[in-house]
Amino acid sequence: MSHEEFAHADGAYVLGALSIDERRTFEEHLHTCEDCARSVRELAGLPGLLSQVDPAVLETPPGLSPVPETLLPRLLQEVRRSRRRRVRWVAAASAAAVLLAGVGVAAWTQRDDTAGTGPSVAAMPPEQDMEQVGQDVVEASLGLESVAWGTRLQLTCRYTSDADDAAYSPSAPPSYALVVHTRDGRTEQVATWKAVPGRTTTLSAATASERSDITSVDVTTMSGDRVLELTMEVS
């Protein structure tokens, strides 16, 4: 029999609805047809999930429940409330930033490359890979999160310190800085750190600038040469 005759038998097969003869023929076909075998594997878990469901769900479709009319007004109310709160916080955060300027506020955590998924750190937005703009041993990905006081940045760095790499044999590990550029042309150094070769390190930094005002973020050497950059999508 040809593949076409079996192409739709996978569903009935995993549900156990084929006759004995049909099942036997289909199973023989599975030995020779990778497409059907893969398809069966993809569907094989579904009967187990279906078994958790009350069959009544299939008999009587739920009456469509309209979205409550109060939802949108409440959401917009929250939006306004959070905007007011943010205006106050940004003012406070800017004042704090003045006090801290030049200190390089950065909090460190470290983890081994080999470590699996440990206890999760504070939830952060997914990180995007930064683009290489110079020849260097650092690779990094960056996540930015809008918070009440501005923007939280989380940087995950990897250092490709290959022992055979003759180009990389510094006497001391290099240091880097994280630099934020904003729409109005300001440049702010938000963190500095030392490379830890062979390690993946995560550091977080903060700025009072709004997420939407940030145009790009660079990783530079301490002498100011850009090695990585991430340009924000214009919204």
Binding site: A17, L18, S19, V57, P62, S146
Partner: protein
């Protein structure tokens, strides 16, 4: 004043509230007041993460479902922790969080099933829940056997997609 932030929230609501609402109703065991709280909190978090919204619609939807589910799970956990400190109940035989996760998963599957078309639900009902063969189901549904087969195929494909969107992988 309708700011761009209001507009963003309005757009989020228009695009996703209906699907998210129905999911939240299911997830809260049709407790509509709680469903609305969860729905509201989820959309608010999405609004606070504009970077999420630049992703493809299916990814956004999945993100929303995940956030909603986590909110429900967190509520359960904190209520349980509270009750444990208050009454010092002896632990149940089955760890409660596993039970809760399973209950939640069964609701998510029910939600995915209820999104299937009537035709798809009917073949699954006959061929799986009633345990009928393709031939029997075909007689009952007054359809050719080939149609029953292809409907079970497409019904399960559609179910798998819906479940993936809700963060359940089979």
């Amino acid at each position: 004043m309708a700011s761009s932030e209001d507009q963003l929230m309005q757009a989020l609501h228009d695009e996703h509230a209906a699907a998210l609402w129905s999911y939240c109703v299911r997830l809260t065991g049709t407790d509509r007041a709680r469903a609305q709280d969860v729905c509201q909190e989820t959309l608010l978090r999405a609004w606070q993460h504009p970077e999420v919204l630049s992703r493809p619609p299916a990814t956004i939807r999945r993100w929303l479902f995940t956030v909603a589910r986590n909110i429900v799970i967190d509520e359960w956990r904190s209520r349980r922790a509270h009750r444990e400190t208050v009454t010092a109940d002896p632990p149940d035989q089955l760890p409660e969080h596993e039970e809760a996760d399973q209950l939640l998963q069964s609701w998510v599957v029910a939600e995915a099933v209820s999104r299937l078309s009537t035709d798809h639900r009917r073949v699954l009902y006959e061929c799986y829940f009633q345990g009928r063969s393709v031939a029997d189901a075909a007689r009952r549904l007054e359809l050719p056997e080939g149609t029953v087969k292809s409907r079970t195929h497409y019904a399960l494909r559609a179910l798998r997609l819906a479940l993936e969107e809700m963060g359940v992988t089979s």
